[in-house]
């Protein structure tokens, strides 16, 4: 029965490859290098969506990871014991909110804030770079990145917090006894010790950002093109599938499945790396009856 998990995984890969055959034979490697997506001429490609996925995930990591590390440091090193548990629980509640509700919230609550405050500020500050060209519209790659940042916080923060808790107290005591302040102790003795675990936590967050569909589909603006400006609409691998599904058939359908296949391998690699890094750290914690 347990082999079911492995069989399912193999079946999944095999089935996706079989169903994307048409597109694989038709486009070959140009599917990954062609920049134009043109349904009227039956020209399909994955590159604009790989690009979109990379850009939105990068924004999410840039905003979400530092915030999560701050949260982890507060919860593990600074918070008084009685707020630790309830506060961790509240942060983790962010993970329980369905992503379609994140999307709804981003469309109607976050968007006015982005259009009114944040994006004009970014334009006046960084408008001279190609990254922030254009007008503040609130439905663009930047908005999708911000929502993704919020969505990866519970994952990255709670795993980072556990790796910080797993740092032996002797590390902290040594630094404190040398006269270091709390901040110096955390920086020198705790963070450097837990570096690989925090890195693993960030990769786990990346895995989540890469595959996220609904919140991105609802905020990114759905434009099948490559543009460097974060204020332009875009499309990710996951959102292009969700957006074109209803009416897809023939070569388009097979191309979408091939994009799904690419997404599968990206997610597989990211998740395997994350699992290896995080598993090693969290496994050091003694559990009854064997490891996790």
């Amino acid at each position: 029965m347990a082999t079911g998990v492995l069989i399912l995984l193999w079946l999944l890969v095999a089935k996706l490859i079989i169903d994307s055959q048409e597109s694989i034979f038709h486009f070959g490697t140009s599917f990954l290098t062609n920049t134009r997506w043109d349904p009227t001429r039956e020209l399909y490609t994955a590159l604009p969506f790989i690009f979109g996925t990379l850009i939105t995930s990068a924004i999410a990591m840039l905003i979400g990871v530092p915030l999560s590390i701050g949260i982890a440091i507060y919860l593990s090193e600074l918070a008084p014991p009685w707020v630790r548990e309830p506060l961790s629980f509240v942060v983790e509640l962010l993970a329980a909110v369905p992503s379609v509700i994140y999307g709804l919230w981003a469309m109607y609550t976050l968007r006015p804030v982005l259009v009114g405050v944040i994006e004009p500020a970014l334009i006046s500050l960084l408008g001279w770079t190609p990254l922030f060209e254009g007008a503040a519209f609130g439905i663009d790659k930047f908005a999708a990145g911000v929502v993704l940042a919020i969505m990866i916080i519970p994952t990255v923060a709670s795993v980072s917090k556990e790796t910080l808790r797993a740092v032996p107290d002797s590390q902290r005591e040594a630094a404190l006894s040398l006269g270091a302040t709390r901040y110096e102790t955390t920086r020198i003795a705790v963070l450097s010790y837990a570096r690989s675990g925090i890195f693993g936590a960030a990769i786990l967050g990346l895995g989540r950002a890469v595959g996220e569909t609904m919140a991105v589909t609802m905020t990114i603006g759905n434009a099948n093109m490559i543009s460097w400006s974060l204020l332009d609409p875009g499309q990710t691998m996951a959102s292009v599938i969700a957006n074109n599904w209803g009416e897809a058939s023939g070569l388009l359908l097979s191309s979408l499945i091939e994009i799904g296949l690419v997404l599968f391998f990206v997610a597989l690699i990211v998740n395997v790396i994350a699992r290896l890094m995080v598993g090693r750290v969290l496994k050091a914690v003694p559990m009854t009856g064997g490891g996790l």
Binding site: A2, D19, T109, T155, M214, I257, G289
Partner: protein, 296 residues
């Protein structure tokens, strides 16, 4: 070496920054809960909860069919996913102390973090190509998402059962399969229940795989071979529509969905609160968050 004062100041600034991070993270959570309640509550009425979805401008539209559809989807998914997940968990916990067991556990964890839209694609090419968009294909996709969650929570629950119980049963000459069935399972029952609840909470909010499989349906439908409505699909379609009344219905549906999902999550936390030591609890909870976080 900077002076004591600047070091002290740096310490205070860093502490405030860390606290600031926590507060920044709480803003979206509070805002989401507030908005969903404030905008969703006015939409809720008996009619809204019992009528089927109608097109924009038509009076008396509701989400009754979506609620029934969601219940059916999650129900069928549980029938497929729970037994498979529990059996996988039992295997890994009781018979999996070897390289094969470790491989299964590893891929199980990898699968738990997988993009659900890929699972939707799989269900599409396996089932929708045969039956068309249907309730059964949606449940199949949701079941695949449930398996890794249920398997890992089951495994952890069974690991909590003290080894002395296993030894006692085996020493009495009870065969291993009976030990598992009568002794281990009945002791780990509470853990199995929480795992099942978590998995249900997780798939109740899944949207992406349903776009590819269940598709949505404005009418009442309970047939396994017909497209079916679901709460997350209703939220998605209505939110993307340009009509104000449909958007209001999206908020109403969001309130129903979030109430359901958060109730399940809080129940699980309360159930697991007193079972373990603090350290243990924290680590376990981290894994639980990882496995059960909404990821559509």
């Amino acid at each position: 070496m900077s002076s004591y004062k600047t070091r002290k100041l740096k310490n205070i600034i860093a502490s405030l920054l860390a606290l600031g991070c926590v507060l920044v993270a709480l803003v979206p959570l509070i805002s989401i809960l507030y908005e969903v309640i404030a905008r969703g509550a006015p939409a809720i009425s008996i009619e809204f909860l019992t009528q089927r979805t109608k097109s924009a401008g038509e009076p008396g539209s509701g989400i009754g069919n979506a609620i029934v559809g969601s219940l059916l989807l999650v129900g069928y998914a549980s029938m497929m996913g729970l037994p498979l997940g529990i059996l996988t968990g039992i295997f890994v916990s009781e018979y999996g102390n070897n390289s094969f067991g470790r491989t299964i556990r590893f891929f199980n964890d990898v699968m738990a973090n997988f993009p659900s839209i890929v699972v939707g694609l799989f269900a599409y090419s396996l089932i929708v190509t045969v039956t068309g968009f249907s309730l059964i294909s949606g449940s199949f996709a949701l079941a695949i998402i449930m398996i890794p969650i249920v398997a890992s929570t089951t495994e952890e629950a069974l690991k909590m059962v003290p080894n002395s119980l296993r030894e006692a049963a085996l020493a009495l000459g009870v065969p291993q399969w009976r030990t598992v069935l009568k002794v281990i399972l009945s002791n780990g029952r509470a853990g199995l229940v929480t795992g099942a609840l978590l998995a249900v909470a997780r798939v109740a909010g899944e949207t992406a795989p349903l776009i590819l499989t269940a598709f949505g349906n404005p009418f009442w439908s309970t047939s396994p071979y017909e497209p079916v409505a679901a709460l997350p699909l209703t939220i998605f379609r209505n939110a993307m529509s340009p009509y104000r009344d449909l958007q209001e219905q999206a908020w109403g549906a969001a309130l129903v969905l979030i109430a359901l999902v958060l109730t399940l999550n809080v129940t699980v936390r309360i159930l697991t609160m007193n079972r373990m030591t603090n350290r243990h609890k924290a680590v376990k909870r981290t894994w639980t968050t990882l496995r059960s976080s909404q990821r559509t």
